[in-house]
């Protein structure tokens, strides 16, 4: 399956929120949809789920118009809510049936996910009697009901403790392994790095970055080197390198420096220079930015 988002535009009143965004997601790969608050993530997801109707553009699934209500989709909205006064199991069965399951299938699926999230003790309890964390798990379980082919999760990790986050990551990994299509938005970059194969970064209603996460990291790190020397502080090292290699852009980074060669072949010269210095080197090699680095660079610098 291939889900394509093509040139989606959406305005609320006079204000355009999405300015013709495009990206694609394939099954068997998890895609992290990233962006700052108000960037347009939830609006995109809501348009995809037909909560909002886009002004122009289209969503295609394998070259056909994507109709969410005709698909098996597990959807977790950003702002979660379920029936506080109803028993956990009865509402999970209800939601599974609304997704097309028969009563038996719905009950089986609801029981499975209640068990998977270790909520058996609360099966027949009213939702309002559960702790906030357990309510959160029930809301997440709702998205997995009825074996969805596509998972669309808006900020799924928010409010989860590390143990439950791990359970959740394992479940997503299983879905990906089964060849399902997974999209989730998140602010927690570490989770995205762990779980996602692809990332799409949206900023102010425009896609700034989209593709394979490893490739993006390589591309973002291309032509950049990382150097740290334990017996020299950042300023001293920076000054000396700038003096020796005026063409290099030097950026302080953690304990060392990122050296941007800007496409020039300076690696050999740098190695010779370091050898001549004859001082201990802690780390010297290709620089690979973390997702957080990329996020801050792409989004933060535009502020």
């Amino acid at each position: 399956m291939k889900l394509e988002v093509q040139n989606i535009k959406k305005s609320f009143g006079e204000r355009e929120i999405l300015h013709g965004i495009s990206f694609a997601v394939e099954s068997g790969r998890a895609m992290g949809f990233l962006g700052r608050n108000g960037a347009g993530k939830s609006t995109t997801i809501r348009c995809l789920m037909d909560v909002f109707r886009q002004d122009s553009g289209q969503f295609l699934l394998d070259d056909k118009v994507f109709e969410p209500r005709k698909m098996r989709i597990g959807y977790l909205p950003e702002e979660r809510g379920m029936y506080q006064k109803n028993a956990v199991i009865s509402q999970l069965v209800y939601f599974a049936m609304l997704k097309g399951a028969s009563k038996e299938e719905a009950t089986k699926s609801a029981d499975y996910w209640v068990d998977r999230f270790s909520l058996n003790d609360y099966r027949n309890k009213k939702l309002e009697t559960l702790s906030k964390g357990n309510q959160q798990k029930i809301q997440i379980a709702q998205a997995f009901l009825n074996e969805p082919d596509i998972l669309i999760l808006d900020e799924p990790f928010s409010g989860l403790d590390p143990v439950n986050s791990q359970v959740f990551k394992d479940i997503i990994a299983e879905f990906v392994k089964q060849g399902k299509l997974v999209i989730f938005s998140s602010h927690q970059m570490s989770y995205v790095e762990e779980v996602c194969d692809d990332v799409t970064l949206i900023h102010d209603g425009n896609i700034v970055l989209s593709g394979d996460l490893d490739q993006i990291k390589q591309e973002e790190g291309r032509g950049k080197l990382y150097l740290s020397m334990p017996d020299m502080d950042q300023n001293e090292l920076s000054n000396q390198i700038k003096k020796a290699f005026p063409a290099l852009a030097v950026i302080p980074w953690e304990d060392g420096l990122v050296l941007d060669t800007k496409g020039e072949d300076l690696q050999g010269g740098l190695l010779n220079w370091l050898a001549d210095m004859n001082r201990p080197i802690q780390q010297f090699g290709a620089f690979e930015p973390s997702l957080t680095d990329i996020f801050i660079e792409k989004v933060g610098e535009k502020e």
């Binding site: 109707r53 379920m82 109803n86």
Partner: protein, 409 residues
């Protein structure tokens, strides 16, 4: 259709499992049973069984100041030979204070004027008046005899009445008013209770953001119709139990009812009235449920719900007031208009049919209009629900909501 069934079953089960609804129904059923059993309960406490063997004129629990001649004989007849007598008023007052007797009488033997004395008098105690009536009757009879008429002549004069019958070709508003008014009250309760229930279910779904999961799983049409129908059926069942309690209570206690009440009940519930009542109640109820559902989906927070639904509450209460007002003038222009406009016809038309003869053309026009309104407001309600699922935050004017909702594909 499948989703409609799922929504309907879930909402119906939720409605029926509400503890407050169950308790309220049971309490109202008990009250209805008690009210319909009132005549029997009153007869049980009135002590009628023990008095059966006593003379009709006997007044129990009474004492008197000993008199002489005819007055003494009368006192013994009215109060019974065993009734305690006292030498003077002072002794009688003491007996009242000591609770030896409940009521005391002092009769002047010359003109049979009397004084009734109580220590405390309850609201329903009529013994003083009964005593007075018997004395008056005796005094009149005596006067007639003195004027040359016999006691039998006196009885004949008393019982001489012009006999006649009244034939009502249409409806007897006197006898029908009570039942039609009671049934109207029932509609009033059903619409207000279940209307608020539907609007709060939807507002809560929106407030808790459950709506987003629902509308991404199924169509708003199935959701709204499923919810409205489930609330409708729950209302019919709840009020069916209340009516059943009324019918059971009436049947069990029928023998103790005064004939006027029996006439009121048997005279009112005719088949045409029942059919009109059921048609306008059910369709009108559904119309209001759709209105409540639509307004419930316009709010983002539960606390905004009362102000959002106030318009429809006002409309409905206006219909109720109009129906009450037009009961005495059922064929006036305002009553005819009220019975045709669907928002008010839900109550005005059954009331008019109950207390007067309504032309068939008016019934047909009102019926067709009602169905058209139900269909239109169901459509509008679905559109507003869909609009509501997309709009959170600032309050929007109803006119703008309708405009935007109808524009939305």
């Amino acid at each position: 259709m499948r989703d409609f069934k799922t929504v309907f079953a879930f909402e119906f089960k939720t409605q029926m499992a509400k503890r407050t609804a169950i308790v309220t129904t049971l309490v109202i059923m008990i009250i209805v049973l008690l009210v319909t059993s009132l005549p029997r309960i009153i007869s049980l406490f009135s002590g009628g069984g023990d008095d059966q063997g006593l003379p009709q004129s006997a007044i129990s629990g009474a004492g008197y100041v000993k008199s002489e001649g005819e007055a003494q004989a009368l006192l013994e007849t009215i109060l019974g030979k065993d009734a305690p007598s006292y030498p003077d008023r002072e002794a009688l007052v003491k007996a009242l204070n000591d609770k030896e007797v409940e009521v005391g009488f002092v009769v002047n033997p010359e003109d049979l004027s009397y004084e009734a004395l109580y220590q405390d008098k309850s609201m329903e105690d009529r013994r003083d008046m009964q005593f007075g009536e018997i004395l008056t009757s005796h005094k009149r009879e005596k006067l007639m005899v003195e004027k040359g008429l016999s006691a039998a002549d006196y009885q004949d004069i008393q019982s001489a009445n012009a006999e006649g019958t009244t034939t009502i070709l249409g409806q007897n508003s006197m006898s029908n008013y009570m039942i039609t008014f009671l049934l109207m009250l029932l509609v009033y309760m059903i619409v207000l209770i279940y209307g608020s229930s539907v609007s709060s279910i939807i507002a809560r779904e929106k407030d808790s953001r459950t709506m987003e999961i629902l509308i991404t799983s199924t169509r708003p049409t199935q959701l709204i119709i499923g919810k409205v129908m489930a609330a409708g059926l729950a209302a019919v069942i709840q009020f069916g139990f209340i009516i059943l309690a009324g019918v059971v209570g009436f049947q069990l206690n029928k023998s103790t009812y005064p004939p006027e009440i029996l006439m009121m009940v048997s005279g009112s519930i005719t088949t045409p009235y029942l059919l009109t009542y059921l048609f306008f109640t059910i369709t009108g109820f559904i119309l209001y449920l759709f209105l409540y559902a639509a307004l419930g989906s316009t709010v983002s927070k539960m606390e905004d719900l009362p102000s959002a639904t106030s318009l429809v509450q006002f409309l409905f209460i206006a219909g109720y007031i109009l129906a009450s007002f037009t009961a005495n003038i059922p064929n006036s222009a305002i009553a005819v208009a009220g019975s045709i406009i669907p928002f008010t016809s839900v109550m005005v038309m059954p009331l008019r049919v109950g207390v007067s003869t309504v032309p068939t053309a008016e019934l047909i026009i009102a019926g067709v209009l009602m169905i058209a309104f139900v269909v239109f407001f169901a459509y509008l309600s679905i559109k507003i629900y869909r609009w509501g699922s997309l709009n959170y935050g600032n309050k929007t004017k109803l006119s703008r909501i309708i405009k935007e909702a109808l524009k939305h594909k």
